[in-house]
Symmetry: C2
Subunit: 258 residues, 2 copies
């Protein structure tokens, strides 16, 4: 049994979308693999050789995709699962681990590697200044996989404890109202002038980075490809003539309260 | 006045330490700069050309370093400030923004760019599986810049709200006892079997990744170059024969309570 092929599965983060923000480690992993599983817009970013095979799927099919990739690796395939950003942040690495835990014992001996990447909140933060320069948290606003009350509890706890927040998956067609509810909740806990950054396609040609006050933030400013960063009571905005303002969260705690 | 040179300042994230985890965008920014400011171990990672100049400084001198870099850029220099990991996460981007806010008005017109990178918690998480696969937060344990009570409040809030936590700057010679206090606090709010990951030099030849239960976690397992990830009550450990266990936080909320 020890001689059977165990294959290899590599889970790769492509970064936020600009090819110059994908690491050489990720590029080498892609060059070495034979089969590619992922949400089709991510597979479309790859420049594959003719013999490299694409197995595209829709989003919300992560667990089925993970199982198909593991089954192929267990048969000896050199398999690559791709995620945008970092595969460990609200992405495919957790889905693959979940499939391994639920799956046949031999999946645990597949040679598994996770290649990190630049996750969306880091790319958006870089464009705005340094809003994540102090303690922060990352919350997925999707309630496909957790109750909305849990999300509300976490937003409230983060606001009260002084964390800057990054929101992933802020809206979708099936969930048009949640971001609005989250912003209402934030307005109950934070001052009206706390800065909110809506970042879309950071680092790509169609990039849009918008800085606005919490009072003026509205759910229509985001789509499912937007990452939103909500400042804390200590986050600062520096106006710049003829340029976007700089937003940063000071390293030092000044004792501001919400 | 509009014709005076305003120079350029680029704040670059080198990634966790493995050169293959630095983005091409960061490499291009380094190639284009003339003057390099940073903590000396980070500058030691660069392969500079003879005409490129190093201005190394010690850590805990971030604000002075930022001001020196801005002053040189304001005189027309092509200046690069380097950080390990991502410059926006407990690193130089916030120090530069702070210096701009405090500094002379002309510093606001310096052409400023922040180049994101793979921050330590992403590299450590990738080596362990997917511990950051659900909502998480990042907390600096250094109380050089904030009171310890604020750190305790945030750890408690994060544990009670179900966030996975990544700790940066867990110990230093000046702060040998804080990590132990943080672990004691966590043990009051989380079950003894919650997994804790101590990750040092992830992706480098001297990498050490250690997975241990919260009950057994001890401050002596970390130094100032360690990033620690503390699971939530829902984080899972998958044993693997002849290999390290996989640690992941499921995408779905299962309703576990601390």
């Amino acid at each position: 049994m020890k001689d059977m092929p165990t294959g290899a599965l590599t889970i790769v983060g492509l970064g936020p979308g600009n090819p110059d923000q994908m690491t050489p480690e990720a590029a080498a992993a892609i060059a070495a693999a034979e089969h590619f599983f992922g949400y089709f817009p991510y597979l479309d970013r790859l420049s594959l050789r003719p013999e490299q095979r694409r197995h595209a799927s829709d989003n919300r099919e992560e667990l089925a995709r993970a199982k198909a990739a593991l089954a192929m690796a267990a048969q000896g395939g050199k398999v690559c699962v791709v995620s945008g950003g970092d595969p460990g942040v609200f992405a495919m690495a957790a889905a693959v681990c979940e499939a391994i835990e639920e799956g046949p014992p031999e999946w645990r001996s597949i040679n598994l590697e996770v290649i990190p990447g630049v996750t969306a909140m880091l790319a958006v933060a870089a464009k705005a200044g340094a809003p994540l320069g102090h303690d922060f948290c990352a919350i997925s606003l999707s309630n496909n996989l957790k109750p909305w009350e849990v999300i509300e509890k976490r937003i409230t706890a983060a606001a009260q404890a002084g964390f800057v927040m990054a929101f992933y998956n802020p809206v979708s067609k099936a969930r048009p109202h949640q971001l609005g509810e989250a912003l209402e909740l934030l307005r109950r806990h934070l001052p009206a002038d706390v800065p909110v950054i809506f970042g879309r396609a950071a680092g790509r040609p169609d990039e849009v980075i918008r800085v606005i006050s919490l009072a003026e933030a509205a759910s229509g400013m985001a789509d499912m490809a937007t990452c939103i960063i909500v400042g804390s009571v200590e986050t600062r905005v520096i106006p710049r003539e003829g340029d976007e303002p700089l937003v940063y969260s000071p390293r030092s705690y000044k004792g501001g309260s919400a």
